[in-house]
Amino acid sequence: MKGHQIQSKIISMEIEVLHAVRQRTLDQFTEGPSVKESRLFFLLLPFFSGKTWSPDIEASAKTVSIVYAALNAHDQIREDTPIIKEQQLTVLAGDLYSGIYYQMLVNTKNIAMVQQLASAIIKVSESKTSFFEEEFRTVEEIESAISVIETELLMSFYTFYGYTEYALLAKQALLYIRYTEELNRLQSNHYSHFLREVTTKLVHENYTKYWLTEKLDSLHEQILASIADCALDYELAQFLLHQITPHQHRAEQLTREG
């Protein structure tokens, strides 16, 4: 599959998600549903690499995207300040998207997937809340929470449909993207809960920067190995490396080798 075909499928999925959750007032006052391109890419990865992909599976992938949009809406709520109309509607947008994902799965009689996703949401909510707990955590425990937040919904989809061969690659890539975002936040002094907690553990922000850079390099190596393990075709691997997890130096090297 060519790069533009991959891109086009991702966009079409994004449009379908937008269409499924459309609501006039929400369209007017909120930023609307947001699902990262990287998550859509990994939801569609089995399709891109030629696995069995029925309309029911496609519908199911769409509902996972809607759950991502629901949880993302609730991440946008500011912590302590009284919230204004846009934020009030963002709270309800997240709740509405949750109702819609449930109804869509009910319509395709896929109650088992409702249960699978509900269990994943529970784990994600627990991990997100862990950043507000006061108990001591090691850096590994913080990493594990981030891993659940970034990948649990996708993993539940892969497990349900037997696409577990992509699980490792997807985990590495989604973590890579998250840590890249955290590095950018660190460099622009926009501290997230994750950065605050890791920096506390690592004593200084310079160590955090070093830790994140090391992590990114290591993950990039692992991604290259996993791409080979998954036997992704050249175009798909290139799309992943250039569009989803761009890592300039390594990517250039791979292109030359390719």
Binding site: Q23, T25, L26, A70, L71, H74, D75, I77, R78, E79, D80, T81, P82, I83, K85, Q88, L89, V91, L92, G94, D95, L96, S98, G99, I100, Y102, Q103, V106, K109, I111, A112, V114, Q115, L117, A118, S119, I121, I122, V124, S125, E126, K128, T129, S130, F132, E133, E135
Partner: protein
């Protein structure tokens, strides 16, 4: 006190409700200590457990099996709880039922994740029921409840809205979940379709009556009785039936308009509350609630006589007369 009186009305359900209470506690059990605390905080604030009660009572018209009934009763209460914790973020409420809200005790984010967690637990529970019809009703209800809340925000501070807007809003906000509680209770106990339809309509009418009374009590009760400031609806811009009826008086209309969407002092708030209390709005709203109550009672008259109908009638009368 009033809550105690209400509970006495369905005291014959006490063993089942105690079981549901335990199930609710187990359902919110989490590996996260904070989520556990926040959910229990919400659960222990109590509530009338109206939705589980209606599920159980509706089940009495069919093959009542508590192990089946609780699979519907527990998630319905969880859905209600999840919406409350998010509503407190939307309304910036510090207190609910006399206790700090989750958002006040922790913060908005913790409240958001607590709500997501509880809703997911509800869905996890309800998937134990295989009937597609149950899921169709529940998913539609969830969506409609959200739409009701969206409309509520859209209609905020609109003193010129019509009565139809108000009724449409409270139907989605309150009546639908109670109506679904009755219908789902009937369905999972295997009642015939006609009985289920009467129970659904009973739930709808009683839900409408219940919400109108709630909106009246927001003006007629004291801060202490409500466990939050009287007139909170008006302060938050929610234009309820007593205000919609009272606004016919031009003087009162001007006064309400002047006080809408303002940071009112306690004294100013009391003045607004007092003005509504002394207006014809309260009596008119009560009459409307009574009409819904009568419609609800009429639905009961079509049902087979028995303990279920007796208790439902007592609850309906109580709702019509409750003080807070």
């Amino acid at each position: 006190m009033e809550k105690m009186k209400l509970k006495l009305l369905y005291s014959d359900l006490k063993p089942e409700l105690d079981m549901i209470e335990k199930e609710l506690e187990q359902a919110v059990d989490s590996e996260s200590l904070l989520l556990n605390d926040a959910s229990l905080h919400l659960l222990q604030a109590g509530g009338k457990r109206i939705r589980p009660v209606f599920v159980l009572l509706a089940g009495k018209f069919g093959n009542y099996d508590i192990d089946v009934m609780k699979r519907v009763a527990v998630p319905l209460e969880l859905i209600h709880m999840a919406s409350l914790v998010h509503d407190d973020v939307i309304d910036d409420s510090e207190i609910r039922r006399g206790r700090p809200t989750v958002k006040a005790q922790w913060n908005n984010s913790v409240a958001m994740y607590t709500g997501d967690f509880i809703l997911a637990r509800a869905l996890e529970h309800i998937t134990k029921i295989e009937s597609p019809r149950v899921h169709e009703i529940l998913s539609k209800t969830l969506i409609e409840v959200c739409r009701g809340e969206i409309i509520q925000i859209q209609d905020k501070y609109r003193l010129d809205q019509n009565l139809r807007d108000y009724f449409r809003r409270i139907k989605r906000k309150t009546a639908l979940l109670i109506s679904s509680s009755c219908e789902l209770g009937a369905l999972v106990s295997g009642t015939d379709e006609k009985t289920a339809a009467h129970l659904r309509r009973f739930g709808y009418f009683i839900g409408m009556s219940f919400q109108i009374i709630d909106d009246i009590l927001d003006f007629t009760s004291t801060d202490e009785e409500l466990g939050k400031p009287a007139g909170s609806d008006f302060i938050q811009g929610n234009i309820t039936l007593p205000v919609l009826c009272a606004r016919k008086d031009p003087e009162l209309y001007a006064m309400l308009k002047a006080n809408l969407n303002k940071n009112l002092s306690t004294e100013e708030r009391f003045k607004v509350v007092e003005a509504i209390r002394n207006s014809s709005g309260i009596e008119e709203a009560k009459a409307m609630s009574e009409r819904y109550l009568q419609k609800a009672l009429r639905e009961l008259s079509f049902l087979p006589k028995g303990q279920g109908v007796k208790t439902m009638r007592k609850i309906a009368f109580f709702i019509g007369k409750r003080k807070f």
